[in-house]
Structures are given as structure tokens and as C-alpha cells.
């Protein structure tokens, strides 16, 4: 697998971190993988010692990861790396970036051209024009 950066990572996590399913995290865990139904509010102060949070997309049509990423950044001020993995398509690149995702995990042989192209479309969004965020 390879990483594709959507934006310069705020705090890129060290590559060597062991990723633990959120249900099994302990006080020393630094990287977790969320399930789509997980309520990020329950992470509480555990967020302080996390460097990496992975939001998972079991299928690209399941948009819960967008809300999880947004909540992590906006409500809880998470400043570590948020990575998206699972079934994603390039057409979601901008949405992911806007919601606070730093990078996506792609197959080694995945073509990144459509991802780059997708990021270059829509330089101005309607939401920013309305003064949101």
C-alpha cells in the first residue's frame, strides 16, 4: 500500500507506529483505526496521546468517515494525522481534504493521476463563498 497526500500533513505520524483497532486501544496506543459507527466523542482525553487516527470506508458510499474526521478536527482540535483507508474513489479527494483528512491509503499500483486531477478542480467551493469555516 502507498500513501497519497491530500494536503501537507499537519503532524505526519511516524511510519513505524503500530495501528490498533479502537476497541483494543490502551493508554500507550499512539495510532488507532476507527470503525464507521464509532462515536469519536468517546475518545475524550485519549486524543492527547494519539498521533494517527485512521477513518475507514468499508464502501465509498458510506460517508460516516467524513463526519468523524470533521468532528475530530473541529470539535476536539485533533492536530495529529488523519488517514483514510478502505474503498475510496478519487472523486472524493476534495471532500476528504475539506473534512480534515491528510492522506489516503491506496494500492501500490493505484494511479494517482485522477487523485491529483480531482484536487485541482473546484478551486473555490460554495461553502467558502458563503463564509463557512
Amino acid at each position: 500500500m502507498k500513501q497519497f497526500d491530500l494536503a501537507p500533513a499537519r503532524h505526519p505520524a511516524p511510519a513505524s507506529l503500530e495501528i490498533i483497532p479502537v476497541a483494543e486501544m490502551t493508554e500507550t496506543t499512539r495510532a488507532i483505526r476507527l470503525t464507521p459507527e464509532f462515536d469519536v466523542e468517546t475518545l475524550g482525553t485519549a486524543l492527547d496521546h494519539l498521533d494517527l487516527i485512521i477513518v475507514s470506508f468499508p464502501i465509498f458510499r458510506d460517508g460516516r468517515g467524513f463526519t468523524q474526521a470533521r468532528a475530530l478536527r473541529e470539535y476536539y482540535g485533533f492536530a495529529g494525522e488523519i488517514r483514510a483507508e478502505g474503498h475510496l474513489i478519487p472523486d472524493q479527494a476534495q471532500f476528504l481534504r475539506t473534512c480534515g483528512v491528510d492522506c489516503v491509503l491506496l494500492e501500490d499500483d493505484a494511479d494517482t493521476t485522477p487523485w491529483l486531477k480531482a484536487l485541482s478542480l473546484f478551486p473555490v467551493t460554495y461553502q467558502t463563498r458563503l463564509g463557512l469555516r
Binding site: 465509498f60 458510499r61 460517508g63 467524513f66 463526519t67 472523486d91 473546484f122 478551486p123 463563498r129 463564509g131
Partner: protein, 556 residues
Amino acid sequence: MNAPVGLYQYQTADREFLASRIAEFEGQVQRRLSGDLTEDEFKPLRLMNGLYLQLHAYMLRVAIPYGVLDSRQMRKLAHIARRYDRDYGHFTTRQNIQFNWIKLEETPEILRQLADVDMHAIQTSGNCIRNVTCDQFAGAAADELMDPRVHAEILRQWSTLHPEFTFLPRKFKIAISGSPHDRVAARFHDIGILARPGENGPLFRIFVGGGLGRTPLVGHELFDSVPEADLLMTLEAALRVYNAYGRRDNIYKARIKILVQALGIDGYRKAVEHELSLMNPEHYRLDPETVAAIKARFAAPDLTASPDAESRLKADRQNDIAFDRWVRSNTHPHFAPGRIAVTVSIKPAGGIPGDATSDQLDRLADLADQFSFGELRITHLQNVVLAHVAQDRLLKLWQALNAIGLGDANHELIGDIVACPGLDYCALANARSIPIAQKLSARFGDNALQEEIGKLRINISGCINACGHHHVGHIGLLGVDKRGEEFFQITLGGRDDALSRTGDILGAALPEDDMVDAIARIVDRYLSVREKGEQFLDTLTRLGDAPFKEAAYETV
């Protein structure tokens, strides 16, 4: 700025946005053809560009934001119908227009042509926030408290390619009205908004969790008085709860109404309030300057009319009974003296509800230019409104409409039938809705008879997905399949106004052949038992459905 009346004037940024969107879609079509996108991946992308695969062909649904368009746009729709379809278009219950015989490979070109007149097909389908619908008499009706179109445009912009809410559990429909007489069926929407002016700016009453489909539910009030500054924040919170907790395991349980039902309105409201407590209002505030800038891109028509306009209309009505009847059924009081709002019926006797030919679309554009500042609206009953007609010119307009077969006096009468596309187009349908609509419309075609019958709405759906809104028809018909035969189930008493409720099933479904006669027997029974001044729903409320049940099954 030479802004159109009644709708938002595009600027460079809007046009650049559309160009990007078309480039994106062309790329998606190419990636589908090359195999980079699977059909499963391509499907939601094409749906969010309005492209459906129906029973026989692709259908393209073009967005008409809040139902308002100008004559130049209408002419473009006529051109698309003529050049790329079979010479007609179909107005939908969400105030859009759809073309039923589109070739996939021609779609990017059609989208470019639409973009030439600031139109698109974005989010007319898919599990995202759909085209926002609005009161068809906005900015014209005498009974209006506040013109909702500026906020409808703000909702359009806010919901367009929303980063967080483009992959929702299911589709999401929003309607907004500024009238105390709910003309948008606010309580039958995922979110329905009733706007009114307050002491310190507009206030919004928000309903949530209504809808038709397989599980018809009347929406609940979420908040009574949301100030303008908090409107988008409140909607974001409402959608966020839905995106996180709405069901994704069963497509038939995925609408927000099921979540609201599961949590209860109080539980859902609590969840929304919790979201709001976490949000930074500064990030979401809708500033008065932003609203003013968008409002400035709507032109206001000069509504002064000649001082004798009203008396001249009065004289015209006295001279022509048929015209007088049409004025009674197909006009709505305007707030400006000497003006009147007109509903052009797209329901001629025996016709297909909501279908208009290319020539009719072109002529409607001409008439909009001549009589209503070049502005047209599509209604959720699939008709067309010319909102600002001078009363002394109304007779001329009616004569011109008659010349193109659109002068029927049947708005909100029995001929004003709403029907889904049914088995003639749709892969989901059990029954053909259109032929039965045509037969009913022909049977009750006489305009004098329709007036005598009074307010009576028939809604026809070809399957339980209820696209013909049969649950809210005063008489609703639902197509069911019985061992390969088309049957229809009758419901009575549905309505989508301020007294919204769903209709009650009358009894066993009847075969298609007997349907028109059964409805005629119900109508005859109503005419024989009604008391002076009663409409169908009044009589039904007074007597219950027993007499109508008896009539419907009389000969069976």
C-alpha cells in the same frame, strides 16, 4: 448587472464552478469506459449529475433551483427536448424537468449546453441534498410573509457539493416556504422550512423527518424560531446527526424519518442540540452581508400596473364565462394591485400530467417574456406559473395559452392529476400510472364539470415508492401487481397542506379496467351527498369513508 427576475444571477465564479463540474463528469465517463471506475462506483456519480438508467433508456433530470427559471433557460430546455430527446420534457414534482430518452454519450454536451444558460443537473438524484423546492408563488402571493427564494438560493449554494453530506445514507429533500399556507408540503420533507420575518430579521420554523415513500410520516417540528445567522449551523447539525446515525443497512430504512422515528423527535432534537453545543457559531454564521450580496443578484420586477387593470379584468370576465372560470381556478391573488399570479395547467384533458412539447416550452418562454418579466416557475403539482401578470392583459394571455393547448381551467381540480412515470418508464413500477391518469383526465375533462366537483386532487403512484405522492392525494391510487395483472389500491383523505395527513386505504385493490368507473362512482356519490359549500375533503370528514367505499365497490 442585468439580473433575471426571480432567480439568482450567475457570476464568474458560478460559471467556473459549472465548467469544473462538467470537466469532472467527462473524466468520470471516460474512466467508466476505460474500466477505471466500476459500474457500482460510476452509478452514484452519474446520479449526482442527474443521470438515471430507466427501463428503456437514460433519463436526465435537470435542476430548476427553487422551481424558478427564465425564458432563455426555458428555450434551452425546448432545444434539448427537440435535439436530444423525443421532442418533449416532463416537469417533476420536485420542480425539475426530466428528459426520458437521453444517450449517455451525449450527456456531457447537453450539460455544456445547459451551462451556457447557467443550468445544470447537479444533485437531482443520488444520496445527497437534492434540489431545494420552494413556494411557486414566492415573491408574488398576497398571503406571503416573506419571499423565501433568497434563502432557497443560499441553501442551494450551501448544499452544492457539500464536503460532508454527499454520501448520506439516502437522499435528502428540503423545501422552504414563506407563506402561512404551506404550499411546499413542508411536513412531508426530510427538512421543511417555513420562513417568516421577525423583529431582528428572518426566523425559520424547521420540520424534520417527514416523507412519503414506503413509510409515509408527517414531519415533526425541530425548532420553532431559528434566526437567520444560525440557519446553516442548524441544518449542518441536523444533517450531521443523520449522516452519523442514519441507517445504512437497509435502503428502505435509511431516510431521516426512520432515524427521527427511532429516536423520537425529543431524542433527535437532543442529539442536534448536542452537536450545536460543540460547534463554533463563528464558523457557521450566515452574515447579513452575505445574504444581502446574494439578494442583490435577484432583480425585482416593476409591478406597477395601469390604474384600470382590475376593472378591465372584471369586464373581461363578465364577457366570457370560460375565461371567468379559468380565472377562478387558475389564478392566485398577487400582493401588487393590478397584478395576478397565473398557474398554467400542464394537465390538458387526456394528456400526460406534466409533459410539455418543445414547441409548448418555446411558447411558454415567449409568453413569460410578454406577460411576466421573462420569469417562469415550475410547481410541485407539475404545472407552470407566470407570477406577475397585469390583470388587464390576462385575457390575452389566456387566449395565447388556449392556442397552444394549455388553457385548461383545472388547477387543483380533479384534472390536475399528479402521476409518477410508472411502468412506462420506470424499472421499479408495478403498474402504469400514465394511462390511468390520461383516462381519468379525459373522463373529467369538461372544465365546467371540474369546477362543479370542486377541489379534489388525485395522485397516482405505480409502486410503493410513492413518487406520485398517492398518500397525500385527496384520492390516492397505488399500483399493485396481482399475479401479473395491474391493480390499484384507493386511499382517501390525504393532504399535504397545514393539516397534513396521509390517506386511509378504502379497501381491496381494484383491477385497472374498473378504476376509472370506481373513481367516477366515488365522485358521483360525493356530489349527491355533499352539503352546500363543502369540498370533497369536508364531506369525507363529515361522513367518513363508508359511503365512498360502498360506491367504489358497488358493482364488484
